[in-house]
Amino acid sequence: MSAHQHVEGQLPHEPERATLEGRNKVLGFWIFLGAEVVLFGTLFSAFIALRHQVLDGPHPSHLFELPMIFAATMILLTSSLMSVFAVQAMHRNQIKALIGWLVLTVVLGLAFLGLEIFEFNTYVSEGHKMNTSAFSSSFYTLVGFHGAHVAFGVLWISLLIGQLYKKGLNVVTAPKIYVSMIYWHFIDVVWVFIFSVVYLMGKVG
């Protein structure tokens, strides 16, 4: 395995790329993200094709509330910035700062999830349920899949924080941190399309 010893036990400059295992992990993760693009793309294309089929359910322009969506967008964008700072702290070998930024990322992710649960709860009480119409089904599938990705990311990063406490920052843990931060940015990238295509276009009509 990676018994990759470095000079004086020092952490190399880009610890996520210091070993072949780390480089392969990063590359493999990007191929996975390519597949994720396809997954979300199919959900988006289904949503775009079906979004006018509201039947007797509420119309998106009455349903969506822009201030709440804007707040969720800000939360996720800020958490993406926190995770970029986490990678920078990792490159400086500042493990305390790294853990701090990771905790902030997770907290903002949880805030986003809370807001989304509240939002879905409000929609259901207004008669916009999973089985109301083709629009509502494709809406919950697309936005719910994104929310599930956020939930998974929160869990994943929390576990990595625990691992950092236990094993410290080294060439084995660094690729995991790096890859999870790429994942977190990807969640934010998908959200950009969700708030543009689902919410803002739904509001316009």
């Binding site: 590359l27 990007w30 294309s45 822009l66 910035l81 920078q88 316009v204």
Partner: protein, 106 residues
């Protein structure tokens, strides 16, 4: 690891790694913020729907491009295969979207 870029000039200098500052990422953040606000403002302003659609798609593509290049490091060297895999995903999904829309709408 990569070689020292200007080897002749800095061969004697101690190898110090450049650690990038946060400025670039804060600029990316502010740019994303501005693009998001433009998109929300366009919808809130109540201008004609077709014009708003164009603005929304444009803002989303620019913001995603900015975040992919700076926050996800796609501009850094050694990212050819990540760029290829993301582009392959995008191309595949565009083909599928066009097919889905063609199937449902026409």
């Amino acid at each position: 690891m990569s070689e020292n870029q200007s080897a002749s000039a800095q061969a004697q200098a101690p190898r110090r790694h450049r650690v990038e500052g946060p400025q670039k990422h804060i600029i990316t953040f502010i740019l994303s913020l501005v693009l998001t606000i433009i998109a929300f403002a366009a919808v809130a302003s109540g201008i004609s729907a077709s014009f708003v659609y164009v603005i929304l798609v444009l803002m989303a593509i620019v913001q995603v491009f900015v975040q992919l290049t700076f926050w996800m490091h796609l501009k850094d060297k050694g990212h050819l295969f990540p760029v290829i895999s993301i582009c392959a995903g995008v191309v595949l999904v565009m083909a599928m979207t066009v097919m889905a829309l063609y199937w449902v709408w026409w």
